[in-house]
Amino acid sequence: MSSKPQPPSSSPPPNNNFAVAFCALAAARTWLSLTGFSSLLDHNQLVSSPLTAFSNLKEGIFLFNHDIDPYSGGSFRQSPLLLSLFTTILPSSSKPLASLLWTLNDVVGAYTLVQIWRSRQNVTSSRRDTLVAAAYLLNPYLFLPSLALSTSSFENTLMLSAILFACKRKPSQTVFTLSVLVQLSLTSIIMVLPAMLLLITDPHSHLASPQPIQTSLRKLWPLFGEFSLYTIVLILISTVIAGSWTWIPQTWGATLMLPDLTPNTGMWWYFFTEMFDHFRPFFLMVFSVHLLIYVAPVCLKFQYDPLYAAYILLGILGIFKPYPTLSDPGLFVSMIALFPETYQYMRHPIVTLLLHLHAALLMPLFYDLWVVQGAGNANFFYASTLVFACANGAAIVDALWSGLRVAIGETPEGYVVVQE
């Protein structure tokens, strides 16, 4: 149980161990990114969606460099911020260089996750650091999209940075990172409330002692104001970069209107390929609003531990967002490492694990049967994404249960805890 912060370990050996292990992990990832393995993933729809694919980014950069509006076609759907980044500061012309850049991004993400862990425990280093870093760097759901150079890896790092800034009580940095994140992916807007709650409370584990939130919620208003300000400024900057407003329907609009039905690991594409056109606007609205309805209940229930609320919402985003890649559920899976106090109360971890194992094997197999061999069809792949959604759903349900269950503690002999 780590409801109480662990005493800071002052001995240097664990710290050195972490540095060595972290460097080894980073080196292993660098080696992996430079092997030819990544070329197998170039056109794989599991690891990059139309909104995050590297090939689309390259096309956008090419059009942009040749003075053609990249948003006039239907293929480039990334934010103008990424466009400006990759045309000016970070040239991505060579594949090895880009691979290194993506690996570096993941290493930063892993270090951020370790920092979040440390600030949750209120220590400067702990024995678990290496495990937390490994949970991020060795998670196949995270490193496969990164090997395929999907920009969803950057979204994950931004998400973790925003949470870390919130843990460290740095309002401006948090809010700015969040508004950049929302520029890249509109659905991340549901993470704004938990991140701000985290900012006005603290990141330590209060799962064992639930209580109404102590701080006044009025502190949120200036934060929301700042967020809106940054967002408006970033919108204006994006418009200046893109030269017109056309980027909005092509990037944010795609999230809401789902123009590209390329199969992915999420729940949306199949539903909308099957849908009659006159129902489309209604169900687009339902699916989009459905993402929002989780924010308030989860934040209310876990108001005493906003980091846990953020974790649950990230899991929900991983299942239900319109254009997910494997890295969205992957972030949730890696974040499980932050909450060891809930492990002993999980009800069915082995079932969740086996569901994930089945889904992780079935998805590439059915994708191959459908798209490569032509022996299967879309239903095969959709069935496997349903298994994947069940796996993620089981993980979230268990996370919710165990997160609430911590508060009750060990049950005396002859007592059972039930859910009503």
């Binding site: 082995i350 086996l354 194992l357 089945h358 094997l361 059915f366 061999q373 009503e420």
Partner: protein, 638 residues
Amino acid sequence: MEQERPPSKWKNILDKLRNLGQISPDKTRRTILRRRYYVALISRRLTLIEIILFLIGYLWLLVLPLPRLGQRTYMDENALQPAQVNTYWNWDDVHAADNYLDHVERLRDNNITSAKRAEWLQTELGKHGISASTQNYTFSTSFGIVNGTNTYAILASPRHSGTEAIVISASWISRIGEGNGTVNVRGVSTVLALAGFLKRYSHWGKDIVFVLSDGYLEGMQAWLSSYHGTSQSGLKVDPLELTSGVIWTALNIDYSGHSFSHLGIFFEALNGRLPNQDLMNSADTIARYTAGVPVILYDHLDPEEEPAAYEAPWWLPKAIHDIKEVRSYLYQAKNVARHIGYQYNGRGSGVHGLFRQFRIDAITLYGIPAMGPHGFHAIGRTVESTLRTMNNLLERLHASFFFYLQTGPRQFLKIGLYLPSAILISVALMFRGLGTWVNAGWISANHNSKDGALSKESTWRSRKRPITGTLSVMIAMHAFGAALFALVSSSWFISNIETLAPIAFLTAFVLPLFALVIPSTKSEDVAPMHMILKTANLCLTSTVISIITLMNFSLAAVLAVVLGIPLVISSPSSKMSVRIAKYSAYALLALGWLLFAQQEIVKSVWSWQVLLVWFAPFVCIVYVPLVLQAGIVCLLQP
């Protein structure tokens, strides 16, 4: 009065609504008791459930060939219209084929080099006014260097732009004896004569590609991979000078005997894949009704159609095999066994098998060697009419089945009728795995009492189930499997296989014995490692079997039979001698192939290096570790 009544009515409804959300403690109690009852019901009967699942699964595998289980094949794609055209292949063309046969036989008898032969074939194809070319290839593998020369020609479609193509092929070496060197003389002659014949007609809407590949399988693999622009380590191949459109279907002709009595259909592709069933059904219909040739599966004669050729098995009393159903069962069982034999190791049943990796549906028409009555006339008409049928296609073959179990030439099982057999066995494994996991989590409080049977009042304490040690053992075993594969596929090992295989067996046998020194868990509050290892091993095996069913059903069925019961019964023992004996049995099951199937090792490694068949790496990296882990479960201290 008027005022009182409505409020009381409303109050009732409101009370009811309020009570809806609330659950009385009594109801909760009942829920808990009911849940416990069902959990106890299942966990007490877990062994019985498993035995039932195993029994149904194994019985299901046995009843697959039952004649009443399957259904008749039927044409699904309406565009195909098989056997609906007049054929023009006639005795002139048969004469042309006979002339080619003389030349080809001379080529065979004079031992002419591949390059010279290809040159002659190219010239002959060119004489028909078709653009023809040759292609050299070299495979460097652990077996040394294999090279040869393919010949191919492309008949441009007179009616279309050539965006799609059909392949007619014949390999130089026939499939007789798995490519032991019999030359496919009449197959090659048929293709040469067909090239001249087909050129004369203008109804082709697709390019027709004639491929005369060298060797048995390797030539076609080289040709196909350069046609589709894929690269493969160890393969050096000339780029193709002539190309055509997307190949949709292919027909491979294998006819080496003097004449043939039946046309045999071979269809299994590499890595457990199958061509669309419509292609087989078309060929079957056309051969029967256009050419008048009986069609069989492989070279198995149907006892009902050919009673003369049927030999009753010696072990079956005459009274029983006189029953028609029994004879049909035995015949279909023979077909299923042959199918499993071709499919489980991923090697397929011939040259047609190489096409499916590029999404091309292909079969081989095999003339069963006999002294009559059919010859070039029948095979020419069959191929001509099948080409006309394939020419009708407007999109790739997609309507009919890709997942089927052919029990006869016109009899098959749908996926829903054969898949559950292996799945049920894998479910039984999963149940045992989860049951072991649950058992590992609890310990009886009066565990130390020597009463034997536990009293009813015995209380249960939960205990920890650490997984890191188990996971490291499993990762080590799979890494060990990868190392074993690297060794087995090296040229050094292959060239000295007779001496090195027993040494490899001994090494692989001795290494897992390290498990003997893993100390048993001292504390009673920690689950013993053998339970956790058994859980992980069974769950992983179950997952592997159920996933493989869709890639390669035969492999999954073989795995279910070989791994099912042995993995479930693995358990430690207190006696050292029993532990070693049990482990030895598992090690023999895991690694016995190193001692007893050296010829198979050579074939599997060859298929991996030349045809990219993943059976060899699968056995080393997945199968061997799974069985050895069951052995380690026995070695660990109880």
